[in-house]
Structures are given as structure tokens and as C-alpha cells.
Symmetry: C2
Subunit: 205 residues, 2 copies
């Protein structure tokens, strides 16, 4: 008969949490590429090996940091969606909000897309599913703009729309390309989404 083990389980959870926050802060401040096992454990106040009793490995820990980031992003997008009823305006504000989140949380946001599992290892299912927050606010306004779309078409279009917005944000924020001032970028992105919606409506005769 198993009761709830308290002291041990509690300390374990505490350590997991401290490691998680340490990793998160390191990524936030120095980017994913600046993340070191020794930094994390020393920040968390445990020995190097401690990381491997709490998490499978560093990649797994990063997955959990990304999980937090996705949740935060999901919450912001949801709040934006709920605050704007009109579908066109809502889509535009979602895009703008995505840009804002990426700017305000640059390193954490980058880690979402920069991180790669080791060769041959798949992203675990539970984390794959968390990526739904990236699309899920887009489907409803699109459905309002074109009620004829079925479930699949809606999912596909949402995905494409997110991907396009993400592409613009992503490329604009990379060192590889010439930087554009934030305000100007927002204008460009907004205009782009407007084009997209106009085209979408035009084809919906």
C-alpha cells in the first residue's frame, strides 16, 4: 500500500523546480547556446550529477523550459483573442501580439525553434502537443470569415497563417538579415496580414 511519500518527493520536486528556473534564467539571459550543465546546477545549488537524477538530460530540461514558454505565449494569445471580437482585427492583433512576445522574450522564444533533439531522438508526444497553442486562436476568426471551410481546411489554413507570420517575425529578428526597427516591423507585419485576409476574403465569393 503506497501512501503519499512527502519529504523525499517534496525535495525532489523542489530540486526539479530549482533546476528548471535556473535553466530558464540562463536561457533568458544568455540564449540557448549559452546553456551549460555546470552553470545550471551551480545556480540551483546542487552537484553536477543532480541534474541527471531530476531530468533525463539537458535536452529534456530544455523541453520543460520551452513548455513554460509555450504556455505563456498561449496565454497571451488567448487573452488577445478574447479581447477582440471582430475576426479581421483579431487576426491582426494576434500577429502583432506574436511579434511583441518574440521581442519581449527573445531568447526564450528563440529556444522554442532553435532547440534540436539529439540525432535519432524524437520530440516526445506531450511536448509536440503543446505546440497547438501556436495555431489554436487562428482557426475561429478564419471560420467566421469563411463558414464554408471544413475542419481540415481550417486547420491547414491556420497552420499556414501562423507559419507565415512566424516566418516574417523570425527572419526579421535574426542576425543573418538586416534589422528593422520594431515599430516599422509591426507595420509591415500588420499590412502583410491585411493583404492575406483580403485575398482570403476575395477568394471566398
Amino acid at each position: 500500500m503506497k501512501k503519499e511519500p512527502t519529504k523525499r518527493e517534496l525535495k525532489k520536486q523542489e530540486l526539479k523546480e530549482k533546476l528548471l528556473q535556473a535553466a530558464r534564467n540562463r536561457i533568458k539571459d544568455n540564449g540557448l547556446s549559452g546553456l551549460r550543465a555546470r552553470d545550471i546546477t551551480s545556480d540551483a545549488g546542487c552537484a553536477l550529477g543532480g541534474l541527471y537524477t531530476a531530468y533525463e538530460d539537458i535536452d529534456n530540461l530544455v523541453l520543460h523550459v520551452n513548455s513554460i514558454t509555450l504556455n505563456a505565449l498561449g496565454a497571451e494569445l488567448k487573452a488577445i483573442a478574447e479581447a477582440e471580437r471582430a475576426p479581421v482585427k483579431r487576426l491582426i492583433k494576434l500577429a502583432s501580439g506574436y511579434l511583441k512576445f518574440a521581442c519581449d522574450n527573445h531568447n526564450l522564444w528563440s529556444a522554442l525553434f532553435d532547440h534540436r533533439m539529439p540525432d535519432g531522438v524524437d520530440v516526445p508526444e506531450w511536448h509536440l502537443m503543446e505546440h497547438a497553442v501556436l495555431f489554436e486562436q487562428i482557426a475561429m476568426p478564419l471560420a467566421e470569415l469563411n463558414p464554408k471551410l471544413d475542419r481540415d481546411e481550417l486547420a491547414t489554413l491556420s497552420r499556414s497563417m501562423f507559419a507565415a507570420v512566424h516566418g516574417i517575425v523570425s527572419i526579421s529578428l535574426q542576425d543573418r538579415f538586416i534589422a528593422v526597427p520594431r515599430a516599422q516591423l509591426d507595420k509591415q507585419l500588420t499590412q502583410f496580414v491585411e493583404f492575406l485576409i483580403k485575398g482570403f476574403e476575395a477568394s471566398n465569393k
Copy 2:
């Protein structure tokens, strides 16, 4: 008085080329993350240290591999543009061609966007400029669709259009997201570009 030194310069160039091809093949077969200095030099038939007499470091070598990839991509896009006169069709074929290139050269194409310079080191100017091939075929058909656009607006819009297409291709080809069959993806991308152009034309009253 310096004449053209032959033997020494020739061997040096030969080694650089062998290292470049070795690195390229390794990236093509195993991806950027599977690239190892020891593999490259053993493939190229030189000692480990030889890499560092030919190139500054591995990142520099990767830049040169990416340079080849960008040139190949640029050539394909140029060929596509020259083969299709009508601006709308041309834009669609360019997007489709970009998708095809990404699929056919997955690892090499991924390396273009996955590679990061070490912390604090900038991508050198010569390589930054090479990224122009990603946009340069887009501006002309857009200008045809709306002759009123000035140089800056055209550049901005080309950039956004590439970024959107790239975003869709990029996200569709990532393990992080659910895979879509190539043919279906091409259809989605094409439809998306059509929307975009329609919206673009509609706003151009």
C-alpha cells in the same frame, strides 16, 4: 617582386576545396549537427590541424558550404523566374521552387538557417550579402503588379513575401510539427501565395 607562386598556392587551394567538399558532403548526409572536425579532415585526407591552416575555424568552413548552397538556390530561382513571364504565375512558381529546393536539399538548406556564429561573433559582410538571392527574384514581379511602389516598399514587401513562404516551408519540414505530404504541401503553399497576391492586388485600387 612577387610572381604567382604556383606549387604552394595550388596545394593550399586544393586542400581548401577538399575540406569544403568533405564538409558539404557530411552536412548533406548527416546534417549540420553531425559535422565533426575529425570526420572532415579524415575525409579530406589531411591531419586534424590542417583544417585550421585552410580555414579560420569550423564556423567559417560552414559559411563557405552555405555560400555554395545559396548560390545553387539563387541559380534555381533565377532559372524559374526567367522561364515564366507572367508575374502571378512567376511568384507561384518561385514559391513552389523554393519548397522543392528545400525538400531536395534538406540538410544543406537547413544548415543555411540552423547555423549560428559563436557568441558575439557577427556573420561576415560578404556572407550576409549572399542572402540577397533569397529576395531578388521577387521584387520584379511585384513591381509589375503594382508599379506605384517605390524602391523601399518593394524591398520590404519582397522580404516579407520570402519570409512568409520560408516560414511555411520551414515549419512544414520540421520534426517539431506534424509532417504533411509533399504534394499536399505544395498545394497549400500555392494557395497561400495566391491569397497573398489577391490581397495585394485588391489593395492596389
